[in-house]
Amino acid sequence: MKFLLAEPAASQPSRRDFLKCVVVAGAGLTLGVRLPQASAQDGAFLAEDDSFQPNAFVRIGSDNRVTLIMKHLEMGQGSHTGLATLLAEELDAAWEQVITEGAPADTNRYKNLHWNAQGTGGSSAIANSFEQMRTAGATAKAMLVAAAAKTWQVPASEIQVSQGVLSHTASKKSATFGEFAEAAAHQALPIPEELVLKDPKDFIYIGKQRLTRKDTGKTDGSAQFTQDVKLPGMLTAVVAHAPRFGGTVRSVDDSKARAVAGVVDVVQIPSGVAVLAKDFWTAKLGRDALVINWDDSAAFKHSSVDIMENFKALAKQPGAVARNDGDTASAMKNAATVVEGNYEFPYLAHAAMEPMNCVAWVKPDGCEIWNGEQMQTVDQANVAATLGLKPEQVKINMLYAGSSFGRRANPASDYLLEAVHIAKAKTNTPVKLVWTREDDMRAGYYRPAYFHQIRAGLDKNGQPIAWEQRIVGQSLAAGTPFESFMVKDGVDKTSVEGASTLPYKIPHLKVDLHSVKLPVPVLWWRSVGHTHTAFSTETFIDRLAHTAKQDPVAFRLNLLADHPRHHGVLSLVAEKAGWDKPLPKGWARGVAVHESFNSFAAQVAEVSVKDDGRFKVERVVCAIDCGLAINPDVIKAQMEGSVGFALAPVLMSAITFKQGLVAQSNFHDYQVLRIDQMPKVEVHIMPSDAKPTGVGEPGVPPLAPAVANALSAATGQWFDKLPLQLEGSV
């Protein structure tokens, strides 16, 4: 997912950022980088009385524990390892002494510096924290050094710090961080201008090694997810949702539900009817025993087929213009050859491994939430508004998320508010809302369905001279608080990104958009607009190369002369994949390159096709340019995971509607990738000293077109629909 609540530039931290030191009673040192808007005249933050506020990134205990406070959600993308690497690097802590802890909701202190809000997404965790975390680590180290210098009566410049140990060679003194934690808390803040960050050649963690984590609890079952939260007197709620979007409860007979032994209560909430019990299974039995008469008179009753027909009809008319270079209409008339393609994309569910859930505890004067929290500022505001509270009365605990893929960052805070409505009805009792997989799959928020139409003209030498692309689908931003800055001149940037930013040198290029209003709830899905634009543009480029009788890699490289980073990853991947090398009979290769979230990814997929039309993706070679590689192993893991994640909708995942009902319900009919379908993956990271950018999403977009292009090379068939279907296969 990707969004901006404000222009990012002004919020970049600088060395002059105000630093804050808080003495934590008896426990040592807590440090945080103050953000620019907490300006110098805001002297209040130096006061003793806010010393217990968890407003910082580093906490060092006298027990020698280094606790790093993570402002970003860990949902599998490696943000905690990444941020801890940055902090531990400048702090010179031993990796083994470091533990991570989720930050509370506190926009001022923990905002995403690329947004004007606290939240995680858009592959921005490393990019926005790079300087901030290193500065926080360096500041802590400087104060530990100052404390040691004072105690040992030696110049600070002679003190060495390594692996969590301070030492002074001449006097043979040494001590752990823990021993100096409390003394460090009484040191003056280092002068920001004098705080020197490491020269990259001195990095011990950044870019260096695989940092294994033993503290996550993810191999012994001790990691805490929202699903695992237990509070005294807590009730579990299971909700019956309307089967169609827009449906409402006409009447409910809850007598059978209340008769289920152990059911505590049944409450009606805006999104349906909730059954509460002490445990999940009882609540679910109660929910299943509800007899609800739904009012579907105003509900959504369309089918996927009609939706796509409607999109196609709309595509006959011009849309809102997202990009317009030159004059495509006249250029098209001069073309020697015109090629056309139409593409259809279904709705997709996020199907996060942990179905949505949320714990809410409403009290008369506040509310506490436990959640795999991805968008604190928005959720806090929405919860507060729902309860008539101030945002600061809403405390949010950010737990590990059992993946998200964008689902947990919802401007509507849907499942949080559902939990809050139930908890409000049970004020003073903590309530855990648990969705079943079926609830998760049918209660909405999908990657929207889209239709794309592309026409391109080639000159007599096979050079593309004109490209017209029309996109039809629902806007992610429309109707949300983000509309005002995400939609410009009728164009939702997230509907066209990747197409409107086509890097190929084509003099006449036009992209336009129809944003269709439908009551199907939609949301960003790992890599957002690029999920569909990379497929249409990168398979269509292959068609053009084929028409021009040119090699797909050479054809692209020729058009990317002005885009060195695209050019770089494409060249790298072709070389590493052995693009020109022969393959076994029945195998073929396909390539794609795509920029998203300021990272550049290229992939070569190798497929094998059997005579009966069945095929397998055998191997995927990835090249990624994400600037300076902070954690090479996390980058590799994200590329591997992206390949597997992106392959599912190529092969089989789709959400379809029949008269408004979602046809799929669980993993048997919304199929996702399993281990036997997983190709071998090889990852190559482009060496770079550019500013680091994200890797959670950029590995996703090129996969589908690379696979489709490989299949086209193998079969001679062009693919214009996902999931893709080979002729002759069942």
Partner: protein, 152 residues
């Protein structure tokens, strides 16, 4: 109804309907939350436990079927095979979000218990009931082989 279960070597007496899935007895009655809920219909493997050493989907196993058997969950796996699997998982940084990994580790342990040197095809066959939405499959394969090697 009162039911006595042996979980991780300890007897637990719970008050639950005998048809309640074992998963929810473990999670909600015995507070062993390492075993996860992912689908409820034996499609994802997140709830995998061992029943007398056999990998079993706890979400579709009525608790009464576990009575008289040894139930082992992620919190209680102690064998050298399980330890080798957990260590390989850490060394190769397998987990991403981690939510599926209790189930993956329980399935992988059961695999190595019965097959000391599994091929890719054996791994695919034994592990294809365990979904990982983060698609950590490349590393799951590598870690199973790594653990097998460590044990040999």
């Amino acid at each position: 109804m009162s039911i006595t279960l042996n979980v991780n070597g300890l007897d637990h007496t719970v008050d639950a309907d005998p048809d309640t899935p074992l998963l929810w007895v473990l999670r909600d009655h015995i507070a062993l939350t390492g075993t996860k809920f992912g689908c409820g219909i034996a499609q994802c493997g997140a709830c995998t436990v061992h029943l007398d050493g056999q990998a079993t989907r706890a979400c579709v196993t009525p608790v009464h079927l576990a009575v008289g058997k040894q139930v082992t969950t992620i919190e209680g796996v102690q064998s050298s095979v399980a330890k080798a699997i957990q260590q390989a998982w850490e060394e190769l940084s397998v987990p991403q979000c981690g939510y599926c990994q209790s189930g993956q580790i329980m399935s992988a342990t059961a695999l190595l218990d019965s097959n000391k040197n599994p091929s890719d095809a054996d791994i695919d066959a034994a592990m294809s009931g365990n979904i990982c939405r983060c698609a950590t499959y490349v590393r799951i394969r590598a870690a199973i082989k790594h653990a097998a090697q460590q044990l040999s």
